[in-house]
């Protein structure tokens, strides 16, 4: 029995350690989201998931300069900016500042708000960061970013995209420089359209008919989607709400009012639900991080996607380059022929951390990142650049031209400093997952409204 006592004593010690270990456990919990994000993020960015200086495929880290004249850390998110762009920017920067070391660290979009919250308030803050245009206001309001009002003219001035300038401006001060934009389009399989004898839809009704026919004609493919709509992809649901005259939330006097349960929004969401139930084979609670894999697997007839998605589909690592000739794109049609549905205007702003040790150097690098030479690269790859004077240069694929068309009729989420918290709370994905699972639209919309109001009116 003594030994059992000893064993129990040892276990008690372990318990004391466990109790004391609270701290290390919780700190590891705080770290968890960063690696966790690896699983949900597109694989194109996976290789560079950890915040190291290692690039996508090339083993050499993207670092420039000697470091004697100071250091800069540049954070860009997701796969939107190819490594070559960054190398070009650092090269240009080092021409005038050969003694400044610039380290590029690629981040993931998933969980970026949480990550920036901790990173920007730490002493180890990166110098230049990229913010989604829906997230920028929160950090501007909080005082996390350098005021760039004085530099605005040098950073592009009136040539900058207006809607992104708005996202980058808070209380009349300019914090976030527009970086690039993108309107969502509908990607489709040209070969499957041809086989089924479908023309590009010009109204939402035709879109439904096309999706239904595709689904029926490809019934032998498991999980096939006429329209690929995973439940958490809320960007895809917004056009349905907007085209019917609905919105997410509106400002009513001094406070926000959720209007997802308005008749117009409910009609849009019901239409969306019909698309999900009748034409989608995507996981009803999945997100859009694996959609390119489904596309490569031949499980997708059409899918709403950002303009850069074709690049991810044909990436050499885990995509399918052979698919390139079959990828088509069009702007999502509206209720009547000749119109488009309002598209979600995504985009990014660049900002300098208030904790940056070298804000002047950061400004110099920022100037290069919004320079015509640099931004031209976005136009060439079919991404909407931040400079209006380059909009005519958007060339390339169907996706690029479709995007240019969609951008003409585009909308944005409620412009509030608290919107980032709405995104972080997964309110819209929760609502859409429930709706995709067959729940009552009006009930779920009312629930979401209440949650959104609570946060926006904080």
């Amino acid at each position: 029995m003594r030994i059992i006592r000893v064993a129990a004593g040892l276990a008690a010690l372990t318990m004391a350690m466990a109790a004391c270990g609270d701290d290390s456990k919780s700190s590891s919990a705080t770290n968890a989201p960063a690696p966790a994000a690896t699983t949900a993020a597109p694989a194109a960015t996976d290789a560079a998931a950890t915040p190291t200086t290692v690039a996508d495929t090339t083993p050499a880290p993207i670092v420039g300069g000697t470091g004697e004249g100071g250091e800069l850390r540049l954070w860009l998110n997701g796969g939107d900016t190819p490594d070559d762009f960054v190398k070009f920017a650092i090269g240009e920067f080092n021409k005038t500042h050969p003694d400044v070391k610039v380290t590029f660290e690629r981040q993931q979009w998933t969980g970026i708000v949480e990550k920036l919250t901790t990173a920007l308030s730490s002493s180890d803050s990166p110098d230049i960061i990229e913010l989604g245009n829906t997230q920028a206001q929160a950090f501007e309001a909080a005082g996390a970013l350098e005021d760039l009002t004085a530099q605005k003219a040098a950073l592009g001035g009136d040539d900058l995209l207006q809607s992104l300038v708005e996202a980058g401006t808070y209380n009349g001060k300019f914090y976030g420089v527009p970086y690039y934009a993108g309107a969502r389009v509908v990607l489709y399989r040209k070969d499957l359209f041809e086989k089924s004898g479908i023309a590009i839809p010009t109204t939402i009704d035709e879109l439904m008919a096309a999706a239904t026919k595709l689904k029926a004609d490809n019934a032998s493919t498991p999980n096939f989607s006429g329209m690929y709509l995973p439940g958490k992809n809320w960007f895809a649901a917004l056009p349905f709400i907007w085209v019917n005259g609905g919105d997410i939330a509106v400002q009513d006097g001094g406070s926000w009012k959720g209007v997802l349960d308005s008749d117009q929004a409910v009609q849009g969401l019901t239409e969306y639900q019909k698309f999900v139930e009748q034409t989608s084979g995507a996981p009803k609670d999945g997100d859009d991080s694996k959609d390119y894999l489904a596309f490569c697997n031949g499980e997708v007839g059409m899918m709403p996607a950002p303009g850069w998605k074709p690049g991810q589909i044909i990436n050499k690592d885990d995509g399918c380059p052979a698919m390139e000739a079959n990828i088509g794109a069009f702007a999502m049609p509206g209720l009547t022929t000749g119109t488009t549905s309002p598209a979600f205007l995504g985009g990014s702003n660049l900002a300098v951390s208030a904790k940056s040790k070298n804000p002047e150097l950061a400004n110099e690098l920022l100037k290069i990142l919004v320079s015509k030479d640099y931004q031209k690269q976005f136009a060439d790859q079919g991404t909407v650049p931040a400079l209006k004077s380059l909009l005519g240069d958007i060339t390339g694929s169907d996706a690029a031209t479709a995007q240019a068309k969609a951008a003409q009729n585009s909308r944005f989420v409620p412009s509030s400093e608290n919107w980032a918290a709405v995104e972080a709370s997964n309110i819209l994905p929760d609502m859409l997952v429930a709706i995709s699972g067959g729940a009552d639209v009006k009930t779920e919309a009312a629930k979401a409204d209440a949650a959104i109001e609570q946060i926006l009116n904080g």
Binding site: I4, A7, A11, D430
Partner: protein, 317 residues
């Protein structure tokens, strides 16, 4: 291990002091610096690692602290407002109930399956026992994040092997809270069993053969021997293992958080740890998040005290 030595060291100076008090010359009563000097590193580590965060957490929970304050604005004291707000929020109570239920189910499963594995280990031949132990070790040593990601792929809606084996293409395991917790439970229990099994197996080897034999000769069946000899003998270990499991499963984070990313409805699947994280880091309400965390620490402490007391009482008997 550093922590256990700390505990031992905490005892030593007080023991010495009693000696000095009983000592003869008043001179020797003077405080000897060495023991205290030896104490300093451990105490400093404890204060830094445990004291500071707890004090910070307490202050946060009594202040108004959002993103603005995080970036340098002055934080106002609001007394117990944060606690009032969370305690009046029905979602908090729903999350708490969910957490307790999840914890209870997982602890019961972990302990009973761990016990079963321990009994199995005792009866296995040398070779198979070694194999089983290696298997247990592997499951134990796998980082929670890694194993959760792997399990999540196993249950993936479209490409998961579980759906393929069961022939249920498109079955979404995570979208329903019940099946969501089914998957989460598998992961938590799977990772919890090895420690329980090893510890109970160690205890089992210490129960004298003769006593079991005597009981068998007296006509006690297998179940009776288990109930009347094995369980009472292992009671101290079982108590400690249960309380440890309660502590661990009550604070579950990684498994639930990662599964929520993969699918499911966040609102319906939050447990206390994830809920606190979402409020503070996700929605930037660090003040309310801290209040939730304080409530959580309080409940954890209650459990610890309860079991430590029942254990010391056990020793006295």
């Amino acid at each position: 291990m550093a922590q256990s030595s700390t505990l031992e060291m905490e005892n030593s100076p007080s023991m010495e002091r009693t000696e000095h008090v009983d000592g003869i010359t008043p001179r020797r009563r003077r405080v000897q610096p060495l023991p205290y000097l030896l104490l300093v590193p451990a105490t400093a580590a404890l204060v830094l690692m445990l004291g500071y965060p707890i004090v910070r957490l307490l202050t946060l929970s009594l202040q108004e602290f959002g993103l603005k304050q995080q970036f340098g604005a002055a934080a106002d004291w609001v007394g117990l407002r944060n606690f009032r707000e969370i305690l009046h929020d029905p979602e908090f109570w729903a999350v708490l109930r969910r957490t307790i239920a999840f914890c209870a189910v997982n602890v019961v499963l972990t302990i009973s399956l761990g016990m079963a594995v321990a009994l199995l280990l005792q009866r296995l031949g040398k070779g198979m026992r070694l194999m089983t132990m290696i298997g247990l070790m592997l499951a134990w040593s796998m980082p929670a994040l890694t194993s959760t990601v792997i399990w999540q792929w196993i249950f993936d809606t479209q490409y998961g092997i579980a759906n393929w084996v069961l022939g249920r293409q498109g079955q979404s395991w995570l979208s329903n809270p019940l099946t969501f917790y089914f998957v989460a439970t598998i992961i938590v229990v799977w990772m919890g069993i090895p420690f329980v099994a090893f510890t109970l197996y160690a205890g089992l080897t210490q129960i004298p053969e003769e006593r079991m034999e005597a009981a068998a000769i007296d006509g006690a069946g297998a179940w009776q021997r288990f109930r009347d000899i094995v369980v009472p003998a292992l009671k101290p270990i079982l108590l400690i293992l249960t309380s440890l499991s309660v502590l661990w499963d009550f604070r579950v984070f990684t498994q639930v958080y990662v599964l929520q990313r993969a699918g499911g409805i966040t609102r319906d699947t939050n447990v206390l740890g994830v809920y606190a994280y979402r409020i503070s880091i996700g929605a930037n309400q660090f003040d309310k998040g801290a209040a939730v965390a304080i409530v959580m620490v309080g409940i954890t402490l209650l459990v610890t005290v309860f079991y430590l007391r029942s254990m010391t009482r056990q020793e006295e008997l």
